[in-house]
Amino acid sequence: MLRFAVRRTIATAITLVTISAVTFFLFFALPSDPALLACGKVCPPELLALVRRNLGLDQPVMAQFVAWLAGIFAGRDYPGLGYCPAPCLGYSFVNRAPVFETIMDRLPVTLSLTIGAAVIFLTFGVATGILAALRQGRPLDKVASVASLVGASVQIYFVGTLALYFLVYQGKLLPSPSYVPLTENPLGWATGLLLPWVVLAIIFTANYTRMTRSTMVENLSEDYVRTARAKGMPARTVILRFALRGTLIPIVTIFGVDLGTLIGGAIITETTFGLQGIGRLSVRAVTYSDLPTLMATVLVAAGAIVVMNAVVDALYAVIDPRVRLT
């Protein structure tokens, strides 16, 4: 277990540095000049040179990358702006703020959106999947499979916009989606995010229903499930303790990937419902050639995926005793 943790931590660090480097160097291959964008509309050459020096853009690209990397651990001094304490992900001239602060401001929005939606799609997806598997070929199964197909095919900006129109603006059944910190007002947090949660969950639930159903059908015909029935275990126990256990591996696998991806930013959902999360931040960073912010969002997205993958691998060993962690 310790060996696994050490190995995965090292691998995670290497992955993140590599991804940062690729992003960094690709950014400088772009034709836009960040100094020009930071400088403002009227930009005399002397000011441009100053901005360039303050941003460190006069240094070689490699040196800039090393300075950025060092800033994460040691903090960094920006002439004319002041000191950016560790972990310093750089200073954004577009947002006029240290990037770390912006990320810390946006991350709770994305996390709230992700976790709320995940609870809904995991619960409903797995539950309908189990029921469909138990009622193979019967009406409930057919309804579930059609609903899954529809759910998987619709787009968030379509369902989301319709839901906004009918439930919020016309029906006035729900408040307009907004983010209120959980610590400030738990009820406001939940009601403000309810619609985005449900809409995001619709898309994902389908996946879990189909996955759970097909694996459950397979598992129900496993020999050990038959043994469990042959030894008189009640139907509920047979399903939940035996058949579902083998279904957990594929569910955990896709759940890890989905969670990682969503933490990296649910761009369309955030845009549809006007939520200021990581997803929208990254889009803005690209649009304004805001390198420090872009780097930070890439790092969050990559970090989420890498960490979730390690968690999933660790969970395999918890679910299936035959799996050895190395």
């Binding site: 029935r229 042959a230 030894k231 275990m233 009640p234 256990r245 299936d320 005793p321």
Partner: protein, 330 residues
């Protein structure tokens, strides 16, 4: 009578039509005795045992007839009553001990949960019982091994564990479906010895399903030979193996190599293949593969289906007269 199966018929509805897996099968098992059920794959052996336990999916199968166990009718009994019976009064062990044990739970837990389920004891008492059972089936260091998962056991040990699991509640009837088929020959003998030993201790009746006549010869008291979902011969082991009456039984015995037979003598396998259960031949189901189909007279074997006769004792379902059988028997 302890277990009395009468006219058991099991049909499965499939896309290709109705599969007649078991057709009007009747047999009896006495307390403390072992009935060996033999036949080729697809002769309905396993389907019969699953029907006794009520493990067929009622949505895809139709079952009729009667299964009387300790005086109670099991066919059509409520689901919860069957759940309480299974694992307690009637237990089952399967062919492949690796796949029939859950890979996700320890061996001890899988045994203990049966005891706890049927006896309602505390967790610790059930765990103690599981260790005691592992000891009884000859697993060394049972206390430590109870904490292991099935994949940490060898094949023979796993089958011992499934036997411990099946016998944890002292069932009156144990159905063993090919319990030694997946095991090494040396381990097979150990498992059969173990079953016999446990039977002597507890008086459990055993239905031993196998395609191996050698297993029947060493482990069973009575034999039921099945073909295409029907009983074609029934009797004690001595009767059926030493004075076989049905041409199919002759075929089974002729296709089995023995050490006593000279190596120069060729095996005589039954020609052809078992019939499709979607379309069982009319009359005697064995007639397309039988060498003596003309002997009873024209169109006799292809007409009505022969019944087991005599109805008690050593009986077979064939139109050949005893005299004819004596003349043509190998």
């Amino acid at each position: 009578m302890f277990l009395h199966v009468n006219d058991l018929t099991v049909d499965f509805a499939t896309e290709d039509g109705v599969v007649h897996a078991v057709d009007e099968l009747s047999f009896e098992v006495e307390r403390g005795s072992t009935l060996g059920v033999v036949g080729e794959s697809g002769s309905g052996k396993s389907v019969t045992s699953l029907a006794v336990l009520g493990l067929h999916d009622p949505r895809t199968s139709t079952i009729s007839g009667s299964v009387l166990f300790e005086g109670k009718e099991l066919l059509g009994a409520p689901r919860t009553a069957m759940e309480r019976l299974r694992g307690d009064r009637i237990a089952m062990i399967f062919q492949d001990p690796l796949t029939s044990l859950s890979p996700y739970h320890t061996v001890g837990a899988q045994i203990a949960e049966v005891y706890r389920r049927h006896r309602g004891t505390s967790r610790s008492a059930a765990w103690e019982r599981a260790i005691q059972m592992l000891d009884r089936v000859g697993i060394p260091q049972p206390k430590a091994r109870a904490e292991d998962y099935p994949h940490q056991f060898s094949g023979g040990m796993r089958q011992r564990a499934t036997i411990a699991m099946a016998l944890v509640c002292d069932p009156g009837l144990l159905i063993a479906d090919e319990p030694t088929t997946a095991l090494d020959v040396t381990v097979q003998a150990q498992i059969l010895d173990l079953l016999r030993e446990l039977q002597e201790q507890s008086g459990t009746a055993i239905i031993l399903i196998t395609h191996d006549l050698g297993v029947v010869a060493t482990a069973a008291h009575d034999v039921l030979v099945m073909y295409a979902g029907r009983a074609v011969e029934r009797g004690t082991v001595r009767e059926v193996l030493h004075e076989p009456r049905h041409p199919y039984t002759w075929g089974l015995l002729g296709s089995m190599p023995t050490l006593r037979r000279p190596v120069t003598e060729e095996l005589r396998p039954v020609r052809g293949a078992p019939p499709s259960l979607l379309n069982v031949p009319k009359g005697c189901p064995f007639h397309p593969r039988c060498d003596f189909v003309e002997l009873p007279g024209p169109r006799v074997c292809t007409g009505e289906r022969p019944e087991l006769s005599p109805p008690r004792g050593h009986g077979d379902a064939c139109y050949l007269t005893m005299k004819q059988k004596r003349e043509v028997a190998p």
